[in-house]
Symmetry: C2
Subunit: 510 residues, 2 copies
């Protein structure tokens, strides 16, 4: 594998001038990528195994020049990328990038600190405290979530990590309170709705709570897929009668299928009555609440024990960045602390500092506060509000267009910038079908496939109460009026063609 002599002439891998030269090349590569992004099909159209075929079977023995590697990125990697930053990306929820965020990622990667405790990089810890306090203020979260009240914020990698950490905190507190042996873990019950993000189920699995003890309470279209207080109360009372221990309630501000908002106030009051930990998951819609006109969706958050949202969705920040606040930081640190000799230091001993390793799963942690701070400073509150409002306005217009067209049904009222629609079951009915929902589902699925196959746009679907809907999540940074106009034209064209074709092949029913 190469003698020592062959290698002696290699440049230091962090030599500053070579770093400078290569990094400038890559900046231009990425700027060009953004300039050309509309030329690529939004969802990758490669076949499984495409890359394995074009890559060598083993790592190169010798160094390769950056120019060669970038050619391969262009030729082999980009065709296999689903372009989440494309203005035609309306799938899942967006994760919207920005220049400010990118600069933050560059700086944090450049420093490459490991801020597991304060001493390992004081700036990383303190900046995280500062930005989470800034955002607390922007969202007008109650002061009880602030460091000044023994609460505080932390940046996790994902909502699932926030679920896991708050579940463990709740679990340990409850087991301690009951003086219970760990065997009682099987008595703990978690509550959510059937619209709650499926990561909660996984988080429960991780922390040892059986799927049998997760109450995924059914929601209804007639109630806009909100969690019903009556249904929650019924479930809790039934569990208490059965000798089980209610542990944790997850409420959602902006569910993934339809962006439904659970009524926080009344639900958290029920939870408080039973000493249940209430977590509010605002992964998607939390960002919108920095605009005064959306803040009312957060009413009742004061009843929650913890709150999280993902700047890596709609806050101009890239993966990974999930902010979590708790009312009592000792809930987290009692459950997640360890204090090994290796990390002992005077600052930690004085208890004057936050050691974020005790607020999360892993020991090591990236300096993620840097990118959030860069975003907040690069765009300011005004800039971030402007982005939210632009996307909401585009979604409003699309919703109005869909509502005014008898070919379509907007299945649930839009709350934010995601529109859920389907081919109108009435329209399906006029084509002669006897089961309008089945036909509408079939036509809507076909419409989605037909639109996505163009490569100009990409959307995903959801199914609630047996209704198949196309979700249009408007939020990519580059998405503008013209892209949503194009989408609307395409939706109309493809649907007309589809309905005409359907009417043709089923003439006997006309």
């Amino acid at each position: 594998m190469g003698s020592h002599n062959e290698t002696s002439s290699m440049m230091n891998p962090l030599e500053p001038e070579e770093f400078r030269r290569q990094a400038h090349l890559v900046v231009d590569f990425i700027a060009d990528y953004y300039s050309n992004i509309e030329k690529y099909p939004v969802c990758s159209q490669v076949e499984p195994g495409y890359l394995t075929k074009s890559m060598p079977k083993s790592a190169p023995l010798k160094p390769e020049p950056i120019e060669t590697i970038l050619q391969d990125v262009q030729k082999h990697i980009i065709p296999g990328i689903t372009h989440w930053q494309s203005p035609g990306f309306f799938g899942y929820f967006q994760t919207n990038a920005s220049t400010g965020n990118f600069l933050g990622e560059m700086l944090l990667t450049g420093f490459n600190t490991v801020g597991f405790n304060w001493l390992a990089s004081p700036a990383a810890t303190e900046l995280e405290m500062i930005v989470t306090e800034w955002i607390l203020d922007l969202l007008q979260l109650p002061k009880s979530f602030s460091f000044s009240s023994n609460g505080g914020g932390v940046i996790h990698g994902s909502t699932c990590e926030s679920f896991v950490c708050t579940l463990i905190a709740a679990r340990e507190k409850k087991l301690k309170q009951y003086g219970a042996e760990r065997g009682d873990l099987c008595k703990l019950v978690v509550y959510c709705s059937d619209q709650t993000h499926f990561s909660l189920q996984k988080a429960c699995q991780v922390v040892g709570i059986s799927p049998n003890n997760v109450r995924s309470i059914q929601t209804k279209k007639s109630a806009n897929f909100q969690l019903s207080p009556d249904a929650l109360l019924t479930a809790i009372e039934s569990d208490v009668r059965a000798g089980l221990i209610p542990l944790y309630l997850c409420l959602t501000l902006g569910t993934t299928p339809t962006t439904a908002v659970d009524p926080l106030l009344i639900l958290s009051e029920i939870a408080q009555r039973y000493h249940i930990w209430t977590h509010v998951d605002a992964a998607y819609a939390g960002s919108a609440c920095i605009c005064p006109e959306f803040r009312h969706f957060l009413d009742g958050v004061e009843g929650a024990t913890s709150f999280s949202f993902n700047p890596h969705k709609w806050f101009l920040t890239t993966l990974d960045c999930c902010c979590l606040w708790v009312k009592d930081q000792t809930d987290l640190t009692n459950a997640l602390s360890n204090d090994p000799e290796l990390l002992k230091n005077k600052a930690s001993d004085t208890k004057q500092v936050v050691d974020y390793k005790n607020w999360q799963i892993a020991l090591s942690r990236r300096f993620r506060a840097m990118k959030l701070w860069m975003v907040l400073r690069s765009y300011g509150v005004i800039g971030l509000q402007q982005v939210i409002r632009k996307h909401v306005k585009l979604a409003q217009r699309l919703e109005a267009q869909l509502s005014a067209d008898s070919n379509f049904e907007v299945v649930v009222p839009r709350n934010f910038a995601t529109v859920c629609f389907r081919v109108s079951p009435l329209m399906a009915l006029t084509t002669g079908s006897t089961n309008e929902d089945d036909l509408a589902n079939h036509l809507t699925r076909t419409l989605l496939e037909s639109l996505n196959e163009t490569g100009l746009v990409y959307m995903t679907h959801a199914v609630m109460e047996g209704i198949y809907v196309i979700r249009v999540a408007i939020g990519a940074t580059l998405t503008d009026d013209k892209h949503v106009n194009m989408l609307w034209d395409m939706i109309q064209d493809h649907a007309s063609g589809l309905l005409a074709k359907y009417a043709e092949v089923t003439p006997q029913l006309n």
Copy 2:
């Protein structure tokens, strides 16, 4: 918070030419940082709360220019950074950066894909499979860890995440095998040594295994702090007799305190006899095993169920990047899969593709394979081996210098590029103390503080069997001969001064 009109003139936050301009500025900022890095004290010397004092209480209302923000990074952030990339950084274990890695982070941040399943970005999934197979090959791991044998590799964020995921996989398999109710969770036992990384304890806590069921088996200096097969067997047999269920054994290749290597072959054979999941944690030293002269440390890994190492330590890759391989991928996917309607797609339905969300905790995942691929191509196997060998050579020389000087004791034989030493207890003895270990500890701690206070170097400590040692982890990318020479000079000077001073204040004992 600003009217709509104020905001209408803002540029798109991802406008390519402005992206280009600002990113070029930051490239130069970071290149200059590396050029000047030796001017900063390695470990930050700020006081707790320093940053809060200099930052405004709330986020800025309006956008700020990058030039202003970078001035603040220089003025306020850099003084609060512990410079892990400094050539004088010898603390913990290094996380060594490189230009190739940096370019990979730029590209993955630029694309900002969310590769939870294959479809969401085929290149992200396939490149991860490719690089983990490449490294499998470099490490000469058995083919049973390859995708071609239903095994396979995945990139996690941290060793702790790999612990959690393999513990859950082992837990679910064992509970299923016993047809046990979840109550039997309290019977599962985990084995490790008192040198195992403390993240294992936390991972057990996360997955619901009581600290009482974690056997942290005592190691001895006389056995170089390796886990003893006899002690392991005794612990297992005692648990079996008590009706408990042995679940999981963690072996370490390069422990954090002293880089001890557990004897993999004999220990994994014992584990197999009791159907225990064996995980090999090679977080630090795994990288060294790409050099043939170190590969022997991995002998016996064929007996393991899973294996992990951190490219973000000694493989020119920044946080976060931990590679995990398993022999049977269904162990992970049976325990960690979910299949929500929202993510259903044809590629996943065919089962022809890997959906990495089922190999980890979170749903969302960064395109980390990109940076590992960039590192492998930018430096080649030869370049990576050269880095390892350079650091080992520097450590060998320092070890020899310390061994030859009667003022010092090398406490354990060096295996890789980390040297553990103390002020010689014999030297302490000649100063007249009656408890040589206590005095050696005191002097060694004082020596460490004195060296770190210079700001020229930074090291951390460990304590084993009551012996306090200074750990010199040589592995920062920029560290070169002159830095280790300087360190050696400083160690001699400070120790001489310290011993002379000590002899002065205790003249009555001379």
